[in-house]
């Protein structure tokens, strides 16, 4: 079982879109896939039209394997299931800080509850917290969307520094450029600079800015399922292949 986290310490960078479309790509390639919506806002659950889980509250996520597996729902796509979000996930940090071995709790829960899956994709909330430390430890790789702008660049540097300072494996970080507008000089320059600075951290594939991706909110489905196979659909497909290569 491989655990792939979609994470960014900055919001609005296309993290949930990456999680949903990557999960779809893994499942379509025949991998039994579970997407775990750790973000209490429940955006990936919304995209898959799955209602929030009512019973997987508070510490049960980490303590009760049966509850965890009972909360799993099939999506409308083959090989792809989801653990929908719950509003109490917003207090994960509080629960985790009270629990023993608080940094490896997530890994334990996923290994026990998600053992029948080949791939687990985590859609993570955008902050650095006890939960994200759990994510960094549990995940085999951390896919980080980066908009090629100054502010995003800065938050990415903060993330790399956090990994370095906390002796976390930096090679787990797989960044890719998201919402890219090649017509903008700022985007082109930022991409060139960051790739030079972090040659091993960045994947080759990039996801362009696209109204098709924005329409996911209306269509409530992965982009590849509603006729966007060529543009953004293909971009996520390439991202999937790059991630598979690095795994």
């Amino acid at each position: 079982m491989k655990i792939i986290a979609c994470y960014s310490n900055k919001g609005g960078v296309g993290k949930t879109a990456a999680a949903v479309n990557l999960a779809y790509a893994f499942a379509a390639a025949g991998s039994r896939t579970l997407i775990c919506d750790l973000d209490p806002q429940g955006a990936s659950s919304f995209y898959f039209r799955v209602k929030p889980s009512k019973k997987l509250k508070e510490t049960l996520f980490f303590k009760d394997v049966q509850r965890f597996t009972k909360a799993i729902r099939a999506t409308d796509y083959e090989n792809l299931d989801i653990v929908p979000a719950n509003m109490s996930f917003r207090d994960f940090d509080v629960f985790l800080s009270r629990m023993k071995n608080s940094r490896s709790r997530l890994q334990k829960a996923l290994k026990a509850g998600g053992s029948e899956y080949d791939t687990i994709i985590l859609d993570c909330p955008p902050n650095i917290s006890t939960l994200s430390e759990n994510v960094f430890r549990a995940a085999d790789c951390i896919v980080v969307p980066v908009i090629p702008t100054t502010l995003s660049e800065q938050t990415f540097e903060q993330l790399v520094a956090f990994f370095r300072d906390n002796r976390l494996q930096r090679k787990k970080l797989l960044a890719f450029f998201s919402m890219v507008q090649r017509s903008k000089k700022l985007h082109r320059d930022t991409m060139e600079r960051m790739q030079k600075k972090h040659p091993k951290r960045f994947l080759d594939s990039a996801v362009p800015f696209s109204t098709e991706i924005e329409k996911m909110g209306i269509n409530r489905a992965p982009v590849a399922t509603y006729g966007a196979r060529k543009g953004p659909g293909a971009a996520y497909q390439n991202l999937h292949m790059d991630v598979v290569d690095r795994l």
Binding site: R49, V50, K70, R73, A74, D76
Partner: protein, 507 residues
């Protein structure tokens, strides 16, 4: 593979499934495949269906739907015939429990249109799916099959849809309703009819009911014998006639003497042209067993012997087929069917009015007494003739008990029927070995008077077979005393008394 949630559904109810809400879920068609032609394949006695499965063939493809394993597919150059004749594959493996003596055949043709439905909630999220097979048979019959597909985490929706399907007339596809809807003109063949004999029913009516139930079985097997589909048609035909004949001989004085004699004679005449073909069928079906009895150097003789049997069988089959197609036969069997359907011309005997319970008690008790008396006199030195007599009386006892089984408490009844069956197995083998020796002797005599080149080789093998069969017969003979003691233990005696002697004890 997981268990399949699959149901038969009348076509109209299936059509409604496409249009109506199930609780708060709305149906959405997500796939609709154009109709294509299939043959529904089964044995004559519906073994595939009765074991909870349906077998479809199209071109050289076989598709097996099973409650336990879902769908299995394979390609086979043959899609009918014996299971052994199919190419190797998943379907063939799954069909290993079908009788090797029964041939698979197309029981009808149907178009199948497969529609896949998703039942979605208010957010258009699929909660449960269903595959619906709309089947339109070439003869005008129609039916549908619904396979429910639950989704993880949505058990409630699956339960709601299942309840809806069942409430709309859905049911098991293995109880015959599907075949009846698709092929309404075909009679579903039931080789062992359930005949409800009531405790107070007059013995005359019980006898008529049994004969009336077995006559259609006899008739339904005629086409299969004529077309020589498999040997079980003749076997079942003969069982039907034998049951009828045993009613006539065992139910004493329910019909007038004259009527009994006449009926016995008429049914014997129907049976007699079938004996030779059945014997040859058994030899050929058990060919491998005979080869296993003799050393390899005698197999060449067996090859010639079985070639001879095969030729004779072909002759006999053609003679019997001709007989069954003859006007005389058709007239006779139709007259008998009509006699037992109308009952007007049946003349009653002095026991005709006796209630079934008392009547059968007396008959069974008397027969059991006879069996015990014969058995008591059998030891290692007794003539074989007496052992044969014991076998015949046991067979009569078994038939009587089976005819009247509905009248007695099931548990106690079965507790004595099972040991009786075991005893009969022993006596049956003893008889088979004996009869086979006799018929092989007769064949040997025939060959001696009919000297030809290969006959010597056959004669050698025949001689060896007779010796081996004789040895086997002796083995079975040696077990008889012990077998009977096992059958007639204290508990059996007690149960026979309690069930059949009760009335006398009270008096």
């Amino acid at each position: 593979m997981t268990k399949t949630d699959c149901y038969f559904l009348p076509s109209k109810a299936a059509q409604n499934l496409l249009e109506r809400h199930v609780e708060k879920l709305s149906p959405v068609v997500i796939d609709d495949a154009p109709p294509s032609g299939f043959r529904l394949v089964d044995t004559f006695d519906g073994e595939v269906r009765k074991t909870g499965r349906l077998l479809f063939a199209t071109g050289n493809r076989l598709q097996l739907l099973s409650k336990d394993t879902g769908f299995l597919h394979q390609v086979s150059s043959r899609t009918d015939g014996y299971v052994a004749d199919l190419d190797e594959g998943d379907v063939k493996t799954a069909l290993q429990n079908i009788s090797p003596l029964r041939r698979l055949q197309a029981i009808g043709e149907t178009d199948i249109e497969e529609v896949t439905l998703a039942f979605v909630d208010s957010a258009q999220k699929t909660r449960v799916r269903a595959r619906v097979w709309f089947m339109n048979a070439s003869g005008g019959g129609s039916a549908a099959l619904v396979v429910l597909q639950g989704l993880r985490g949505y058990d409630k929706a699956l339960n709601q849809l299942r309840a809806h399907v069942l409430a709309s007339g859905g049911g098991s596809f293995s109880d015959g309703a599907l075949y009846k809807s698709l092929f309404p003109m075909q009679v579903v063949y039931v080789p062992k009819p359930k005949i409800a004999v009531g405790r107070k029913e007059a013995a005359f009516d019980a006898a008529n009911d049994i004969i009336h139930a077995y006559l259609p079985i006899v008739r339904l097997n005629e086409p299969g014998i004529i077309k020589d589909i498999d040997i079980e048609f003749l076997h079942d035909y003969r069982i039907g006639l034998r049951k009828i004949r045993s009613v006539l001989s065992l139910f004493s004085e329910v019909y007038s003497d004259k009527m009994t004699v006449s009926l016995k004679q008429r049914f014997s005449s129907l049976m007699s042209p079938t004996g030779q073909l059945r014997d040859l069928d058994v030899y050929l079906a058990e060919k491998d067993k005979f080869y296993a009895l003799l050393p390899k150097r005698l197999h060449a003789g067996l090859d010639a012997l079985f070639a001879l049997f095969a030729n004779r069988r072909a002759e006999q089959q053609s003679i019997l087929a001709k007989h069954l197609k003859s006007k005389a036969y058709t007239q006779e069997i139709e007259d008998l069917v009509s006699l037992f359907a109308k009952k007007k011309k049946l003349r009653k005997g002095k026991n005709a009015g006796q209630p079934a319970l008392e009547y059968s008690r007396a008959l069974i008790w008397k027969k059991y007494g006879k069996v015990c008396t014969i058995a008591a006199n059998i030891d290692d030195q007794t003539e074989d003739e007496e052992v044969h007599n014991l076998r015949i009386q046991c067979k009569k006892l078994r038939y009587l008990m089976e005819f009247f089984a509905p009248v007695f408490p099931k548990k106690e009844f079965n507790s004595i029927l099972q040991p009786l069956k075991k005893l009969q197995d022993n006596l049956g083998l003893f008889n088979d070995y004996s009869v086979q020796q006799e018929s092989l002797h007769a064949l040997l005599d025939e060959l001696n008077t009919n000297q030809k080149g290969e006959n010597l080789e056959i004669a050698q093998s025949l001689g060896a077979l007779i010796v081996v069969l004789h040895g086997k017969q002796l083995q079975e003979r040696a077990r008889v005393v012990e077998s009977f003691a096992k059958f007639n233990d204290a508990k059996t005696k007690e149960t026979f008394q309690a069930l059949f002697k009760k009335q006398k004890a009270k008096a």
